[in-house]
């Protein structure tokens, strides 16, 4: 029998602490859509996505009403598009536009999977695909793109890393009237996961089933609320309360994920319990770290506090569901977190501290605006550093930076909505050019030899 306190706890989590299901993401395999021409493939892709996901918005609304928990985003992820464009030379943009059209008609906010997996090598059609990314992101509204450049098993493809520096610069240039917004929809990964429901990095891995529902649960506000009154409590007690809170949130997510999969005639994939902040007050990961005891995120101790948070979240999640996957941890996107924005404005946090933090939490240098005149090789250097952290530590790392055209340190940029606003952060003025221009591959690390 449920107690009154338990019932009120759940009600308050939704009412006052921003508990929500951040996203229901339907993964759809596009492998059956390959045709001999880009036009035919584009038509097949559009038809398949529009049909498979036709009920995603109505089902999410129904579930939201039934369980009384807001479901914020409805999304679709697809097979990495580079895998289906091989025969359609130069037709990549047609497929990008077909996907964008499907997303708009379904009423979903983002569709991810304009992606390529080039962690070891790159075929000629994958190179062509990568070069199409700036055009694809500027010609579409809701399409998200990602490229996996490295893994703990294969090492880091430095040719791809080099190329991505230029691709990010071109994407910013092509979307300069919107502050380089295209770059907010592009992620460079190391150890990309195949079942991530969160954007911009979601894609439907080739090891996945035909149609899969993955659910991303959030709740930085709930965790913050749970620990803000624990003055004088030891760190063990803090870890314990985070774990228990993560457990409850994940259980709610699992229930909704399973029900969503059933109603959408899809497999249930995973629940991704990630503390994903939004720019609204009371929904900040930075504020959790500050509630743990730091005067500002960025202070010495931030990396340790984040490590504890990330680990406790994972432990609670794993206890709550046998199918926890995706990224599952804490996100630290600068522009999407009011506490991070404040810390960046105050100079309390810089890109170097962020890099250290990415070694202990999920994802990486995320939604960081940098000066528009940052050289491509410097961006490649940032990607290489993050990829190295991921490769050596057997974890996912990512880079989503926006070199905002015509902006310099001290300025800020506003993307609006969930993407928030960001002060321009300084990058190292020293050149990475000679290192990046070498190309080649960073060999797989010693611990990849496990067979």
């Amino acid at each position: 029998m449920l107690s009154k306190n338990e019932i009120l706890e759940t009600v308050n989590m939704v009412e006052k602490e921003h508990l929500d299901i951040r996203t229901i993401t339907m993964g759809i395999s596009l492998l059956p859509c390959v045709r001999e021409s880009a036009d035919k493939t584009a038509t097949a892709v559009y038809d398949r996505v529009a049909k498979k996901a036709e009920n995603i918005v109505s089902v999410a609304d129904e579930l939201s009403k039934t369980y009384g928990i807001p479901i914020i985003n409805k999304r679709v992820s697809v097979t990495p598009v580079s895998l289906i464009t091989a025969p359609s030379d130069g037709g990549e943009i047609k497929i990008a536009k077909a996907l964008d059209k499907a997303a708009k008609e379904l009423g979903i906010d983002f569709l991810g999977g304009y992606s390529a997996l080039v962690q070891k090598g790159m075929t000629s059609y994958e190179r062509r695909f990568l070069e199409s990314i700036p055009e694809a992101l500027s010609a579409t509204e809701r399409l998200c793109s990602s490229v996996n450049v490295g893994s703990s098993k294969t090492g880091i493809n430095m040719d791809a890393v080099k190329l991505l520096g230029n691709i990010i610069k071109q994407t910013a240039e092509k979307t300069k009237d919107k502050g380089g917004l295209g770059c907010a929809k592009f992620v460079a990964f190391c150890n990309a996961v195949e079942d991530n429901p969160f954007m911009a990095g979601a894609f439907h891995g080739i090891g996945e089933g035909e149609t899969v529902v993955n659910v991303g649960v959030s709740g930085p506000g709930v965790v913050h609320h749970a620990i803000k009154n624990m003055k004088g409590a030891s760190i063990d007690e803090i870890a314990e309360i985070i774990k228990k809170t993560a457990f409850k949130i994940t259980r709610a997510g699992t229930l909704i994920a399973k029900e969503a999969a059933k109603r959408l005639n899809a497999e249930f994939g995973i629940v991704d319990l990630s503390l994903a902040p939004t720019p609204v007050m009371g929904d900040s990961v930075a504020h959790i770290l500050e509630a743990i005891g730091l005067s500002s995120v960025g202070a010495h101790g931030t990396t340790a506090a984040l490590a504890l948070l990330n680990d406790a979240v994972k432990k609670g999640g794993v206890m709550a569901s046998s199918n926890v996957g995706g990224l599952s941890g804490a996100f630290i996107p600068v522009s999407e977190d009011i506490g991070m924005i404040n810390a960046a404005n105050n100079g309390a946090i810089d890109i170097n501290k962020l890099e250290a933090m990415t070694a202990v939490c999920s994802v990486g240098i995320d939604m960081v605006a940098i000066p528009g005149d940052t050289p491509a090789a410097t961006i490649s250097g940032i990607i290489a550093d993050e990829a190295a952290i991921g490769m050596i530590n057997n974890k996912t790392t990512a880079v989503r930076v926006i070199p905002v055209p015509n902006k310099k340190v001290g300025d800020s940029v506003e993307f609006g909505g969930l993407l928030g606003e960001a002060p321009i952060m300084a990058v190292s003025p020293y050149s990475s050019e000679a290192f990046i221009s070498r190309g080649g591959r960073i060999p797989a690390p010693i611990h990849s030899n496990k067979n």
């Binding site: 019932i7 759940t10 039934t66 009384g68 409850k248």
Partner: protein, 88 residues
Amino acid sequence: MKAIVSVIGKDKSGIIAKVSTALAEKNVNIEDISQTIVQGNFTMIMMCDLGENISVAELAGVLDKTGKEAGVIIRVQHEDIFNAMHTL
């Protein structure tokens, strides 16, 4: 199907009457009810059986209207969400 109705708002006369009338009109059976005043706020929790007559989503629409008339916030949620979060 079982659902939990929670009513939170400023205390005034007639809240229970209004909510239970709305539920009765939809043939929803109240199985358990508890009510307290927390920091001046009226807080009521009702365990309800919706039978096959009405879905949780439909009832939410009805009670939302009742809540607006009575000046309180009424939520109705499928009981599974509470069980998932609070029981092993």
